[in-house]
């Protein structure tokens, strides 16, 4: 790579970026004005609302057999003992008469009412109850209810003290068994921890918004204008061109981010944005170098990611459509800092973006683990380098450089289906997602999902595009050893999938409570075992294999190479199962099933494996078998057995027809 060439190209890119005044205004100047204006507007609104709430009167009614007694109890609470919420002195409870408290509550004439439930005279402990009725969807009612509860608590304490005084004991109830808390964290520690959680997401957001326009223009825009071809015919190497563009995007990302952060700090110092009282952010001598070491590679990764997207699309306009997924893909791992149980010294250090988020959290809390910080910087830099390499490869892809076919797109037949298969599956996913909220029983959900969505829409695709069913669904006979191998792969397959789940848990630990909830949901009471077997094992095996290893595989077989095809179809299969904390093991199963289909050219062995897997999982759940807590050697042995089964399949293979070659 020649430095002079990269320098010349970089100067050229920066000159173009700076001369695009409108883009500079939209990406830099506007947010400098709009963001503080928005924060100011929100602050003014919130202050106005808080002032209104400070003078709130919580109107309540009392009802029930001993309402008078309750009413007197509440009114007897001394004002100085009225602890309540943190409202100002003007906020108080006020009783109003109401013949029908429920109706008054509905009409908004009162905020809550107290029901003195139980006998009119006190017959002993636990006989009487006070029920505070309030609509939880109203802020003022919730506040009022909390205040009433606290007042009742104070009334009880006052009563207890009065009883003790009668027996000659002058005791303050508050002083009985007091529990206090002492926070050893300084305001700087607390501020640092709070800031540390948000900082990476904020920095990432600023970099993405600041550099997105430039990034989309440097390749996609150049393709549209025709200047990319001009550049590609010069002596500059692809890698030099990509390096210069990457550096240009990086520069823009850093400058806009620094300008925005500077603007925020300026507004803070001017008092436009106010921090909570006592809030402080610690900055030691080590903080700045540590943050630089973490954020610079992150900036390089952001620039490389944006460049990759720009390099893969054909126009600036098309690039816009990919911006939202890029934003989500970047910002979601940046929230890893909110996970309390994920320390920096863990597998998260190997996950780009998430590692920076956790590391920044530690740094801002005053904890400097330099070895891990260096590892995080290295991993992030490696990810940026990898993305840049892919961008270089994209510049050699002729179809994306020069546009596709000039012939009109097909409207019918296999070619038309291949161009629309992903849209169909996106629609199916949306339908499943909506149905999951609307259908409340397991039986209803399963029947709808399998019969209507998977099977029904697969057949609809076949009809719409007039596809030969046998070829479309890969309904081909296979040699008996293949079926036997599929059968034998059931047990080791499920064990290995659980092993994969354990590995995934290192990165994203899942609550055992959630797992229990899922297991309970899959074992509804009153459903006979044979029905559960049909619903959970047989039906999904048939319908899902037709959809994924049938329709989806058929539609994508010419677009992706076999390895990518297996990963993609497996990943989509995992994504369709909404228990996302089990995404990885489900996707793993999906990949195995896809490989089986690719090797045999048929979905039949996959149906067998799928049904067996689900049936075995059901049986294991019924008998509380701890498949995710086995010894490592069991997972290893199962993996070996699985490999053996697939080796048998490989030996008897009849490859799926029409695939692209495995390599270029």
């Amino acid at each position: 790579m020649r430095r002079e060439t990269v320098r010349a190209l970089l100067a050229h890119e920066l000159r173009l970026a700076v001369r695009d005044r409108r883009a500079v205004a939209a990406a830099v100047l506007l947010p400098l004005v709009v963001m503080p204006a928005t924060l100011l507007a929100v602050r003014l609104s919130t202050e106005r609302v808080d002032r209104a709430r400070a003078v709130t009167l919580y109107r309540y009614a009392v009802t029930g057999p001993w309402a008078d007694e309750l009413s007197r109890t509440l009114q007897a609470v001394p004002p100085e003992r009225d602890a309540g919420t943190a409202d100002g002195p003007e906020a108080r409870l006020m009783e109003v008469p109401a013949s029908d408290p429920e109706a008054s509550l509905r009409r908004g004439e009162i905020e809550l009412f107290l029901e003195a439930a139980g006998p009119a005279t006190d017959t002993g402990p636990h006989a009487r109850r006070v029920r505070i009725h309030f609509p939880a969807d109203r802020d003022v009612s919730r506040d009022g209810a909390a205040r009433a509860k606290a007042a009742l608590q104070e009334a009880w304490l006052a009563r207890a003290e009065a009883s003790l005084r009668q027996r000659g004991l002058f005791v303050e109830a508050r002083e009985a068994f007091p529990v206090e808390s002492r926070d050893v964290a300084t305001p700087a520690d607390r501020g640092g921890a709070a800031a540390g959680r948000l900082l990476t997401a904020l920095v990432l957001f600023l970099m993405l918004t600041g550099a997105a326009g430039t990034a989309m223009d440097v390749v996609a825009g150049e393709k549209e204008r025709g200047t990319l071809e001009t550049l590609l015919t010069t002596a500059a190497r692809r890698s030099e061109i990509v390096a210069a563009k990457h550096l240009a995007i990086l520069a823009v990302a850093l400058v806009t981010m620094l300008l925005q952060v500077g603007s925020l700090l300026a507004w803070l110092s001017l008092g436009l944005i106010r921090l909570p009282p006592g809030f402080a952010i610690p900055v030691s001598a080590a903080t700045v170098p540590a943050l630089l070491l973490l954020f610079l590679p992150l900036a390089a990764l952001v620039a490389a990611g944006l460049l990759l997207v720009s390099g893969r699309v054909r126009s600036y306009r098309a690039a816009q459509l990919f911006l939202l997924p890029v934003f989500l893909g970047g910002l979601v791992p940046a929230l890893a800092s909110f996970l309390p149980g994920v320390p920096l010294r863990s597998a998260v250090a190997l996950v780009p973006v998430a590692n920076v988020s956790v590391a920044v959290r530690e740094v801002m809390a005053g904890r400097f683990d330099w070895a891990m910080i260096a590892l995080v910087a290295l991993v992030t830099s490696a990810a940026a380098a990898g993305a840049t390499r892919l961008s270089t490869a994209a510049l050699s892809e002729e179809e994306s450089l020069l546009g596709g076919s000039t012939a009109p797109p097909p409207t019918d037949g296999p070619a038309a289906f291949e161009s629309r298969v992903t849209a169909w599956f996106a629609a199916m996913w949306a339908l499943l997602f909506l149905a999951s909220g609307l259908l409340t029983t397991l039986r209803g959900q399963l029947l709808f999902n399998e019969l209507v969505v998977f099977l029904g829409m697969t057949l609809a695709m076949a009809r719409r595009y007039r596809l030969p069913l046998r070829e479309f669904l890969a309904l081909r006979a296979v040699p008996p050893p293949v079926l036997l191998a599929a059968l034998l792969a059931i047990a080791p397959g499920i064990v290995v999938a659980q092993g994969v789940f354990r590995l995934a848990n290192l990165f994203l630990p899942v609550s055992s409570g959630m797992l229990k909830e899922l297991a309970e949901a899959l074992r509804p009471r009153g459903v006979p075992p044979w029905q559960m077997f049909l619903l959970v094992a047989v039906l999904p095996a048939v319908c899902e294999e037709m959809a994924f290893r049938g329709a989806l595989l058929y539609g994508l077989r010419r677009r992706l190479r076999p390895a990518a095809l297996a990963l993609f179809v497996g990943g989509v299969f995992g994504f369709f199962h909404f228990a996302y904390f089990r995404l990885v093991p489900t996707a793993f199963l999906g990949v195995l099933l896809t490989i089986l289909a690719l090797l045999t050219g048929s979905i039949l062995p996959g149906m067998l494996l799928h049904a067996g897997n689900n049936a075995l999982a059901l049986w294991a759940a019924e008998h509380d078998l701890p498949l995710d807590r086995l010894d490592p050697w069991v997972y290893a042995a199962s993996a070996l057995a699985l490999v053996l089964c697939f080796w048998i399949v490989y030996r008897c293979r009849t490859p799926y027809p029409g695939l692209r070659p495995w390599r270029r």
């Binding site: 002079e4 060439t5 010349a8 190209l9 050229h12 000159r15 173009l16 001369r19 695009d20 204008r225 025709g226 200047t227 071809e229 001009t230 550049l231 590609l232 015919t233 010069t234 002596a235 500059a236 190497r237 030099e240 050699s396 002729e398 450089l401 020069l402 596709g404 076919s405 012939a407 009109p408 797109p409 097909p410 070619a415 291949e418 161009s419």
Partner: protein, 248 residues
């Protein structure tokens, strides 16, 4: 002596969504001599642009080889591009750069010695008479002015081989004439030029040898006189039609 351009068995196949595999160039062979203007003549869709893009290493051949001054286009693409200046209707200029900045950029990234870049830029500005608008952004220039800047850009790094792919498309008569004169001057300077066109009069006026390309195949390749003798026709248009209709 090494030929400036040697093309042997050059083939390019594309995969089309609707039509399946399409052979845009089907195993063509040709060679350019130093200092000549070699014409590629063909109708739209004949494969001229695809051939030239393979020459310029923008596309990768499916089969066959392309060598520029002894450098293989697949094995040594950078060296090929260092020795080549490519001008096409689809190679646009940067709208926000001035002509001076454009020429300087392409001189630098084309590998021109850094110390001589300024002098090179001045020479080209003077040669093409763009001094009066050398500091005006390209987006504000007329198409004739842009054409001159584009040619100057192509020559910025002083390559021995020049490729012009339909350079007069969209130009008026005077500008097109000017383009032809520029190519003649370049030949006089000893540059080798590959000139692709579908305009017969240009090919007649400019080219030392002409290859007739049709549906990815070279149907004939000779001097204009040689083509006339072989077909018995005088005008290039008739010669072209004779060969093309012969293919059917």
């Amino acid at each position: 002596m090494i030929s400036p351009v040697e093309v042997v068995g050059l083939t390019k196949t594309f995969e089309d969504e609707a039509r399946g595999l399409v052979e845009a160039v089907r195993g063509i062979d040709f060679e350019c001599r130093a200092g000549e203007v070699f014409g590629l003549l063909g109708a739209n869709g004949a494969g001229k642009t695809t051939t030239l893009r393979m020459l310029a290493t923008v596309l990768r051949p499916t089969a066959g080889s392309v060598r520029v001054l002894g450098h293989d286009a697949v094995a040594e693409p950078t060296e090929v591009r260092r020795n080549l200046g490519f001008h096409s209707a689809s190679t646009a200029l940067y709208p926000r750069l001035t002509p001076r900045e454009t020429i300087e950029l392409f001189a630098r990234i084309g590998g021109y010695p850094p110390k001589g870049v300024k002098a090179r830029v001045d020479a080209l500005v003077e040669r093409f008479g763009i001094g009066s608008y050398q500091d005006v952004r390209v987006e504000r220039l007329s198409s004739g002015m842009k054409q001159k800047v584009s040619v100057a850009r192509t020559l910025a790094h002083d390559p021995p081989l020049l490729v012009f792919d339909e350079p007069t498309v969209g130009l008026d008569v005077l500008n097109a004439l000017e383009m032809v004169e520029i190519v003649q001057e370049l030949r006089a300077e000893g540059k080798t030029v590959i000139y692709s066109t579908h305009i017969m009069s240009e090919a007649e006026k400019l080219c030392d040898r002409i290859a007739i390309l049709h549906r990815g195949l070279i149907l004939a390749c000779d001097t204009l006189e040689g083509l006339r003798r072989a077909t018995g026709a005088h005008y290039l248009e008739d010669i072209f039609v004779h060969h093309v209709r012969g293919v059917g």
